[in-house]
Amino acid sequence: MKLECNLPVIRLLVQKDWQLFQKQLAAYVLAAFVALTLLGLAKPWSFYLGSLLLIVILVAVACFAISTSLLVERKEQTLAFVMSLPVSPLDFTLAKLAGNLLTFGVPFVVILGGTLAVILGTPLPNGLVVLAVLVFGHVLLAYSASLAVAMHVESEGWNTFVMIASMVLINPFLMAIGQIEEIAGPTQGDVIVWSSAALMILGAQVLLSVVAIVFVAWRHGRRAAFY
């Protein structure tokens, strides 16, 4: 089968998801606004509260994007409506991936950039950069895994489990990297040390994320029909 995609319809499908979920997205943007304003107050309590709120929003947006655009559509049987339009499974998969990656990717990049700017531009030790990037790497991996499962598995139970479990695993992950001296040690210093362990973990996170997404896109994109 030729891998041809129908860009105008993909754009319309992404636009449709955007219109469907913009109300909820607006609420998240408002929450992010509150979080940024808390950071702007430059008080220790507001800084911690703001950072925490931002991470919560990032995780919530990740889960929200997946659940609304994939699971809810399946549950509310609107999927049949979309599939009856002149779209191929590849168009549909690409539209879902693009919509999801956009919904997650934009806040992810903004918050990652903001976090790095705060670490580098304030008296916080610059060594924290490695830890912060690894935490964001975990969120990316958890999101990619949840997205891949949501696109591949219809069971709502499994999807909820993977979404919650992968995000909750951030705690043991933090504890685990805290035990690795070459990562935990330099976090107090002002020098950014990319140890081999840190690079391996980051590489694995990025690689696994890409593999999960590409695998799902490939599996679904090459299918001839939806059912």
Binding site: M1, N6, V9, L12, K16, Q19, L20, E76, Q77, T78, A80, F81, M83, S84, L85, P86, V87, S88, D91, R223, A224, A225, F226, Y227
Partner: protein, 294 residues
């Protein structure tokens, strides 16, 4: 005459069900009713015809395009609405119409407005607030106003009140004024099919039991009432689909009527007093009870 669709040797197997060896063709400009009990394979056949499902064996061609390979092109000329299809609850019908209009260049805004009035739908209202009947009509409007050459409808009149049913049927009848447009619709309600369809296809247990012009069914099936001996056995009458006896009263339903049947029955002691044509529902129920033989 060119075919709106033609399927040949179609098979699709699921865990608990299989559609087997379906060969069927719908000429352009005609309307076909698909009759079958729940689980007979109607929805599967419609999904195969829209390219949503891929067949395990056999071929599906719609307007000369092979499915599912050329489903994108084929779906541009297909309007498909099924009972399990839902619209976006929070969005209005207006929003849905704008969305569909952007996808289909053939979208007819004037016709959509006319259908809105005919179906008495408030287009600014969220679809989630619609009743079942309004939802079906909205789906139908979205399918019809894109002016499809082939309309595939899965149970379009199920659960509708009598008024809504008539409105939907009238709209379908109107579609057929254009000779190039074709409709395949499945229904439990044989009255609707009887009213609209040119030809009828019976599905049972995943197999196509019969496909013929509507009139042929009516010509072939008869209901005979008469008097006969108690414990009557009528072996050697393969055309008889069912016999029911109450005392000496006998009701016989025949699947291929021959004028010499009353005389032959008389030899077995059955005196036929009345011969009636049968309704499609009666034909359908009788054939299902007879194990799907037509």
């Amino acid at each position: 005459m060119t075919a709106a669709f033609s399927v040949h040797g179609l098979c699709k197997r699921y865990d608990a069900f299989a559609l087997q060896d379906i060969t069927l063709e719908l000429p352009e400009g005609s309307i076909m009713g698909l009759v079958g009990v729940n689980g007979a394979g109607k929805t599967t056949l419609l999904r195969l015809l829209t390219g949503l499902a891929a067949a395990d064996a056999g071929s599906v061609v719609v307007h000369g395009l092979r499915l599912p390979e050329q489903q994108v092109e084929a779906k541009r000329s297909i309007g498909f609405a099924s009972e399990d299809m839902r619209l976006y609850r929070k969005m209005s019908l207006d929003w849905h119409m704008r969305f569909i209009a952007q996808i289909y260049p053939t979208w007819d805004a004037d016709y959509a407005a006319a259908l809105l009035r005919r179906f008495d739908l408030r287009s600014s209202q969220a679809v989630g607030e619609y009743s079942h009947g309004q939802r079906v009509k909205a789906l139908l409007l979205l399918s019809l106003a894109r002016r499809p050459r082939l309309l595939l409808l899965d149970e379009p009149t199920t659960g509708l009140d009598p008024v809504a049913r008539v409105e939907v049927l009238e709209a379908l009848a109107e579609v057929l004024r254009d000779e190039r447009r074709s409709v395949l619709f499945s229904s439990h309600n044989t009255h609707d099919i009887e009213q609209l369809a040119d030809s009828i296809a019976f599905l049972h247990g995943g197999r196509l039991v019969a496909h013929a012009d509507k009139e042929r069914f009516f010509d072939q099936w008869r209901r005979l009432l008469g008097l006969g001996p108690v414990g009557l056995k009528l072996e050697g009458f393969p055309e008889i689909a069912s016999i029911r006896a109450a005392g000496s009263q006998v009701e016989i339903k025949v699947r291929s009527w021959q004028a010499d049947l009353p005389a032959r029955l008389s030899k077995e002691g059955v005196e036929v007093q009345r011969i009636d044509p049968m309704t499609l529902e009666d034909i359908f129920v009788t054939s299902v009870r007879a194990g799907g033989q037509l």
